[in-house]
Amino acid sequence: MIELIKEMWPTLWPTLAAIAVILAFVPILGLYMTFIERKLAAYIQDRVGPNRVGPLGLLQAVADGIKIFLKEQVVPDHVYKFLYFVAPTISLMTAMFGLVVLPFGPVPPEYESGFRFIVAPGVDIGILLIFAISSLSAYGIILGGWASNNKYSLYGAIRSCAQFISYEIPLGLSILGVILAAGSLNIEKIVASQGASIWDWNFFWQPLAFVIFFTSSLAETNRLPFDLPECEQELVGGFHTEYSGIKFVLFFLAEYTHIVASSFMTVLLFFGGWHFPGLTGPVDGSTAGMLLRLFVLIAKVGAVVAFIMLLRWALPRFRFDQLMGLAWKGLIPLGLVNLFLVAAVFTFDINKHFLAVTIVTIPIAGLISTWRLQRELNSTIALRAGKSGLGGASA
């Protein structure tokens, strides 16, 4: 056993180091993301936000963490004890396990020795593994909701589950185009395929795929336009109604980990990963180059995370039938169309940038839905006016 570890050590320690980095950063990230979210929310609502603890309120996150750890463990009498305790753990575990094949920094081609910014480099099925793991993350929520033995929790869990299964399909379809372009499921190779110029970023020639991917990944993370599983007006707290203290925090740590992971995926798949025109060339092993690329990647991810947080205050929540309709009637057909177009581009050797035209489908869809909504609204108003004899618009 000792000899085996000794023999494996040169390849083992970078893996362990990468795991340590992930394990250390996920909780800190979760705490500080809540802080940033509160600050952003405050600025949007013309408030100051948390500003008492430490300079600029920066220690607020730490104070929150300490408070949550010291909270009383409230366990309701009517829960199924085993699953009630296991569910938050499953939630966080699946969220963190997905980070195994996700490069959180530049990965040089020679990754055999030395520290690298990924736990398992060169995994041939990279994206597929992330999908496989993240498809398990519904277990945490659905078991938590069921084990709470509470109608609201169960409804939250069922909603989450239905939403999750539905949005996994467009998510997979949107990625197929990217995989087709890179010819590999390996994330490092997909990033490499976008390295030549800024116009090679998948975002600039598969904008439709990007829109589908981003929408679906928002739905997978239960973020605001899609946060029906925990909508307060209808379900008290949704699946986490019966959870408090550290168990509650585990669920939310998982959610923030999901947000970060899907931001990383967005950047790696559609925004060229650690490449930036003028700043970075081919990946070399030098420390300065690695740090620069790390900075580029983290900056891009930060921008996506901030965008997701801003979306929270820009969009209202869906109705459940609208949510399902969007996935099954909107995103899945669009995903199929996108896949077909990408395949056609490669089969007939057309210039791939013609595909950028597909972005017009989004404004067209917007126009159609606005027109239909307006027509429906008009007919309702006319109906009400006819029935009651009042100007029904305000009713």
Partner: protein
């Protein structure tokens, strides 16, 4: 095993899966049936014990543990074999749980455990794509839908006839015969025809990747070849996924097309059945 193994530089990893099977060939002896029979006995006792009482349950657990220990004696001593065996044991445990759990939700979870452990076994055999697909399709979609239904149709007090299987005494010998035959086929000399991919066929998996790169009509592959500016990213195993895809769509094209057709027909049929209205307007 190759993929993870060569990355962690485990000696066993370099060997071909088919060679591993051929190493097993000829190691057959009758004592290999002992763990299978013990396992069957353990299953019957556990099944009986859940309905009847504690003492059977205890004996069942003892028989199951004895089965696991006796099976572990046949494993060649190597680090990765123990991990493999752990996954197998977990899968068997999940299956036990699935069959014996009183609550349908726990039964579904046992099933999920079994499926995930089998994925683990596949990972250990470097069948990465199949493992991930297994996780997505079974653990990620199908069992979640089971749970979904079970949670809505929640049953409270179960009767014994819900827990008791109809013919466990018939099922267990059938299982023993199947497993015994499988073990015999894998270990007896000459019983298992070792076949390799046909190297003479143009598109077979056995043909080297260099040939595939120059094939016409492979825009994606050609494109990949032109991406040289960021250096070539090493893959720990020679592109198993693309090899699998190539093999599926050339060697097994008919089977894939037939399976796809059957699935499409099934989907159409399901939709047709589901939207059948009972006189009302939809």
């Amino acid at each position: 095993m190759q993929a993870i193994g060569s990355y962690l530089s485990i000696p066993f990893a370099q060997s071909d899966p088919i060679e591993t099977v051929s190493q097993l060939s000829g190691s057959w002896n009758l004592s290999m049936l002992i763990p299978i029979l013990l396992g069957a006995a353990g299953y019957l006792l556990l099944q009986h014990g859940i309905v009847k009482g504690k003492q059977y349950l205890f004996m069942g657990v003892i028989a199951a543990v004895a089965s696991v220990i006796s099976a572990s004696l046949f494993i060649p001593p190597a680090f990765e074999n123990y991990i493999l065996f752990l996954f197998c044991a977990l899968a068997t445990g999940g299956a036990f749980g699935f069959l014996t759990a009183r609550d349908p939700v726990y039964a579904a979870l046992g099933f999920a455990t079994a499926v995930l452990s089998i994925s683990g076994v596949m990972f250990m055999q470097s069948a990465m794509f199949v493992a991930a697909a297994n996780m997505i399709v079974y653990a990620g979609a199908i069992i979640i839908i089971f749970l979904f239904v079970l949670m809505f149709a929640q049953q409270t007090n179960l009767r014994t006839y819900d827990v008791k299987l109809t013919y466990p005494v018939v099922a267990a010998p059938i299982g023993v015969i199947m497993l015994g035959t499988l073990v015999y086929c894998l270990t007896a000399e000459g019983a298992f025809p070792l076949s390799r991919p046909d190297a003479t066929r143009a598109y077979s998996e056995a043909s080297p990747p260099e040939n595939l790169m120059t094939d016409e009509g492979n825009a994606a592959v050609k494109k990949l070849k032109t991406i040289e500016h960021t250096g070539s990213y090493k893959s720990v195993s020679p592109s198993t996924t693309s090899g699998l895809g190539r093999s599926l769509y050339t060697d097994y094209l008919l089977a894939v097309a037939l399976a796809g057709t059957i699935l499409t027909v099934a989907a159409v049929g399901a939709i047709a059945l589901a939207t059948k209205t009972t006189g009302e307007d939809v």
